[in-house]
């Protein structure tokens, strides 16, 4: 059985970024395992543009963005296996997988990069009442039907949830001739990017109802109607505010959940705030030599940031297999303060930092004209102004590593504070 330096689980933007970067940083036998028929992951069904604005300073579609990394992967001669499902990852970094051509595989790895991405929260998870007919789709599943299989899923559509995929699908369904009647969002703010609200809803006169949810789904066989209603501050429907739509389709864009069944199986520690692995500055999980990046760690808003994070994971995985990663030494914890939902990474070992430490985080609610304040053991080391912050958009704060090396730190906290 062949041994690999780095085995990457998943060939979406995270897996591709990590694999390429691991190779570039000196890992020699890198293997990428992908369950789908082609490389690229969900990017292949994201045929809209808006990818690469930060990373390439170009406006690319999902497949174009993926192609950049796929080309690089192939130029570097990095090995990959398609249609290959990982069944289990052991704590000792043996990857058990199967495919139709090679059968059952046990692949020992010196380092593993978890890049399995995320899945959509379902109707069941939020217990939407009503019938359970055909015509209720997760927005991402509908996206696959339209963009990969070439089939339409409905003609008159209501969308629950204003996550980015839902917004993108509102536009996509409209362009395919469907009538999108409304988007209902249970929160007082959208879960998606502002640019998607503007470009996918406002430009097509699709109404967005904040603080609304679906209270009934009609139709025993296929959806025949959907009723939405306003909710109170405890997200309970308010009687008398119902709006009914005759429609054949309900799309759901009600959140994404990192897919960590393999991580849990291996014993990787999971942060309940992100539903992803607890990671350090190297994107290394609680198990030495198992790294993680992209939406399996926390749900990102842009693929560009997935790439940035994954390149770090790949780079550090390569250092790990070359025994250049310092596992001991000075370490501090990050802590989400006032207004912050979570921070990635959770731990930082100062010795492994390059010039800067990027902190990825999400705020809990919409903030206008506030500051993000970073404190090392209570002492302010960075302040950044933000005109507008929303839970739908990830915040990134980069700290100069020198500031973290001046003296031992126990805790680095980030909070939202007044200007």
């Amino acid at each position: 059985m062949q041994h690999y330096d780095v085995v990457v689980l998943g060939a979406g933007p995270a897996g591709l970024g990590a694999a390429v970067e691991a190779h570039k940083n000196g890992a020699r036998n890198v293997l990428v395992l992908e369950r789908d028929r082609e490389l690229g992951g969900i990017l292949q069904q994201c045929i809209h543009n808006g990818f690469g604005l930060h990373f390439f300073s170009e406006d690319l579609t999902g497949p174009e963005y993926a192609e950049r990394f796929i080309d690089e992967l192939q130029e570097l001669g990095i090995e990959f296996k398609l249609n290959t499902m990982v069944l289990e990852l052991t704590e000792g970094k043996v990857v058990k997988a199967i495919n139709t051509t090679e059968g059952y595989l046990e692949i020992p790895a010196r380092a593993v990069v978890l890049a399995m991405g995320c899945r959509e929260r379902t109707r069941g998870a939020i217990a939407i009442p009503g019938y359970r007919p055909a015509g209720v789709f997760n927005a991402g599943t509908a996206q696959r039907f339209l963009n990969m299989e070439g089939y339409m899923v409905g003609k008159r559509v209501v969308i629950l949830g204003s996550g980015d995929i839902g917004l993108i699908m509102a536009r996509r369904m409209t362009l395919e001739g469907a009538e999108v009647l409304a988007v209902a969002e249970i929160m007082p703010h959208s879960g998606g990017l502002t640019r998607n609200i503007v470009q996918c809803l406002e430009d097509y006169d699709i109404p967005l109802y904040l603080k609304h949810t679906v209270v009934d789904v009609q139709g025993r066989d296929r959806v025949t109607g959907v009723t939405i209603a306003e909710v109170d501050d405890r997200t309970q429907p308010i009687m008398g505010t119902e709006k009914h739509y005759d429609c054949d389709t309900l799309l759901l864009s009600v959140g994404l959940i990192p897919e960590n069944e393999l991580s849990r199986g291996a014993g990787v520690k999971i942060d309940p705030a992100t539903n992803g692995p607890v990671v350090n500055e190297a994107m290394e999980t609680s198990i030495e030599g198992i790294f993680a990046c992209g939406n399996v760690v926390h749900v990102h808003d842009l693929a560009d940031w997935v790439t940035e994070e994954s390149q770090r994971a790949g780079k550090y995985a390569a250092r790990y297999v070359q025994e250049q990663l310092v596992e001991e030494g000075k370490m501090f914890e990050t802590r989400p303060g006032n207004g912050i939902g979570y921070i990635v990474p959770h731990y930082v070992r100062v010795s492994n930092l390059d010039e800067q430490l990027p902190l990825y985080m999400r705020v809990r609610e919409v903030f206008e004209g506030k500051r993000l304040v970073v404190k090392a053991d209570g002492e302010v080391i960075k302040r950044v102004k933000r005109r507008h912050m929303a839970p739908g958009e990830m915040e990134i704060v980069k700290i100069d590593s020198d500031k973290l090396r001046e003296r031992p730190i126990a805790e680095l906290a980030v909070s939202v504070e007044e200007e």
């Binding site: 495919n99 139709t100 899945r119 007919p133 055909a134 991402g140 990969m148 299989e149």
Partner: protein, 493 residues
């Protein structure tokens, strides 16, 4: 002309069909839907009750007691999952303790073994997550959990393999009696039969009334459930019931045979027999009730909610008898809970009735009680998985990642007798889409495989009923059926 025609392919109809296939009889099994087990059988608590609950003087009581011990053999023969995990009836008030004793005594009168009244401490030893306030419980060793639709499908498959004809999409519209039999009009033509068995579930009264005097009514009673992810496994170890009170029978919390947790049902009288809606209020009620039994039920692991409708007979008991005014027409009606638990005994009972009125039934020496076991990839050891993929590469392609279901398993359940024709049909047989993503990832692939294997376009594939279309047509500019072409490439592997 058939010797026997069974109307309704739920658990009762399928069980009767399989038992009749032991004899030299021409048997037809009719259902209005496009699959078996598509009514009450697909939406219930999935419990094999020990049988202490229904009164010793009722048909239900007798048949539950008789039916329970029959499950082991049939589930073994047909490779259907069954787990005898035992059950508990919890009491929360000292005043309820006499009720517990009544249940115990009733069970003993019915000859049910393994009943025991437990103290709170003994109860907690079995179920550490019960609430602190319990006063005691009734333990029943023989209670079990089963896959009801899997059993019905297996019974239908075995029946077909032993000569029964399954006629789906045959909704009965009229029945006429003539001198030596019945002419059954259906939405797909007429079926003639010497004897007719009415196992029509929620419509058993309507079917009876087509040929005989009305003497009972079926009243639909809805129950709603939560189904939690396998991550919740271990919350309870047994089927946890609540002591029946004047207010109702309470709700249960139980493991399912596949390692999920089921919570429910409430009981709500309805007018509409088709109203399988879930409602916010009733689901909240189910949560409140379940909280009386078990602490901290993790509803954040909920993967689906559903409702089932019970066929409550106005007579309050199973009706299993030849019609008095239509000789040769046998009612198997009002099969509500414990219908599943009683189903093996119901089938036995019907065979006895038929044997009597037909003047003896001749056994078929070619009857084979077994069906080919299912390949359950997820349950195999690493070595067994490796061997299976070597033997058939289709088992190397995982279609459903949540439940680790392979293409090989899908092909198997599509091409068996009583094979799957719909997405939910595949789901009930091989479990893709029953996991935490609820088909988000696998449904496109299941549709593609069904379309390829059945030789139809993807847009022809239904979710469940004939009217439950999924895809509405091609997107603009897409002409080549891409997915189908790719599917064919896989087919040549």
């Amino acid at each position: 002309m058939y010797d026997v025609t069974i109307i309704g392919a739920g658990i009762a109809g399928c069980f009767i069909a399989r038992e009749l296939s032991r004899y030299k009889l021409n048997v037809a099994l009719l259902d209005r839907e496009n699959d078996v087990s598509d009514g009450q059988t697909k939406a219930n608590s999935a419990i094999v009750h020990a049988g202490y609950d229904a009164h010793v003087d009722t048909v239900m009581g007798k048949l539950n007691a008789r039916g329970n011990p029959m499950f082991d053999q049939v589930c073994e023969e047909l490779d259907v999952p069954l787990k005898r995990i035992g059950s508990l009836v919890l009491t929360f008030e000292d005043a309820e303790l006499p009720t517990l004793r009544e249940l115990y005594d009733n069970g003993r009168a019915l000859g049910i073994p393994g009943l025991e009244i437990l103290s709170p401490t003994e109860t907690r030893r079995i179920e550490p997550n019960v609430v602190d306030s319990i006063k005691g419980s009734l333990y029943a060793e023989t209670a079990g959990i089963v896959g009801p639709w899997e059993l019905a499908i297996a019974l239908a498959e075995n029946a077909i393999d032993n000569g029964v004809e399954l006629k789906l999409n045959h909704e009965v519209t009229a029945i006429a009696a003539f001198h030596d039999g019945f002419r059954i009009s259906t939405t797909q033509g007429e079926v003639e039969s010497r004897y007719v068995i009415n196992a029509a579930g929620l419509y058993a009264d309507k079917i009876n009334n087509m040929v005989a005097k009305p003497f009972f009514e079926i009243n639909p009673k809805r129950g709603q459930y939560f189904l939690l992810d396998k991550n919740a496994d271990g919350l309870v170890n047994t089927v946890v019931f609540q002591c029946p009170t004047k207010a109702g029978k309470g709700v249960l919390v139980s493991p399912t045979v596949h390692g999920n947790v089921i919570v429910g049902p409430d009981a709500e009288n309805l007018e509409n027999r088709e109203d399988v809606r879930t409602t916010g209020n009733r689901l909240r009620f189910v949560k409140e009730m379940a909280a009386k039994s078990i602490k901290d039920i993790p509803y954040h692991y909920n993967i689906t909610t559903f409702a089932g409708i019970r066929a409550e007979p106005s007579t309050k008991d199973f009706i299993i008898a030849e019609s008095q005014d239509a000789k040769g027409f046998i009612n198997v009606a009002g099969i509500k809970s414990p219908g599943l638990s009683s189903s093996p005994a119901i089938a036995e009972e019907v065979v006895q009735i038929l044997d009597r009125i037909a003047g003896g039934l001749e056994a078929d020496p070619e009857f084979d009680p077994r069906r080919r076991p299912l390949a359950r990839f997820a349950e195999l050891s690493d070595q067994q998985k490796a061997a299976l993929v070597r033997e058939n590469p289709r088992f190397g392609r995982i279609v459903c990642r949540c439940e680790t279901v392979t293409e090989g398993e899908l092909l198997d359940v599509i091409h068996r007798s009583c094979g799957a024709r719909t997405v939910d049909g595949v789901k009930r047989r091989a479990r893709p889409g029953t996991g935490r993503c609820q088909g988000g990832f696998c449904s496109p692939r299941v549709i593609e495989i069904l379309a390829r294997e059945l030789g139809v376009d993807l847009s022809e594939i239904k979710k469940d009923s004939e009217r439950s279309y999924i895809l509405t047509g091609r997107t603009k500019g897409s002409s080549a059926p891409q997915a189908l072409l790719q599917g064919e490439q896989h087919a040549t592997l």
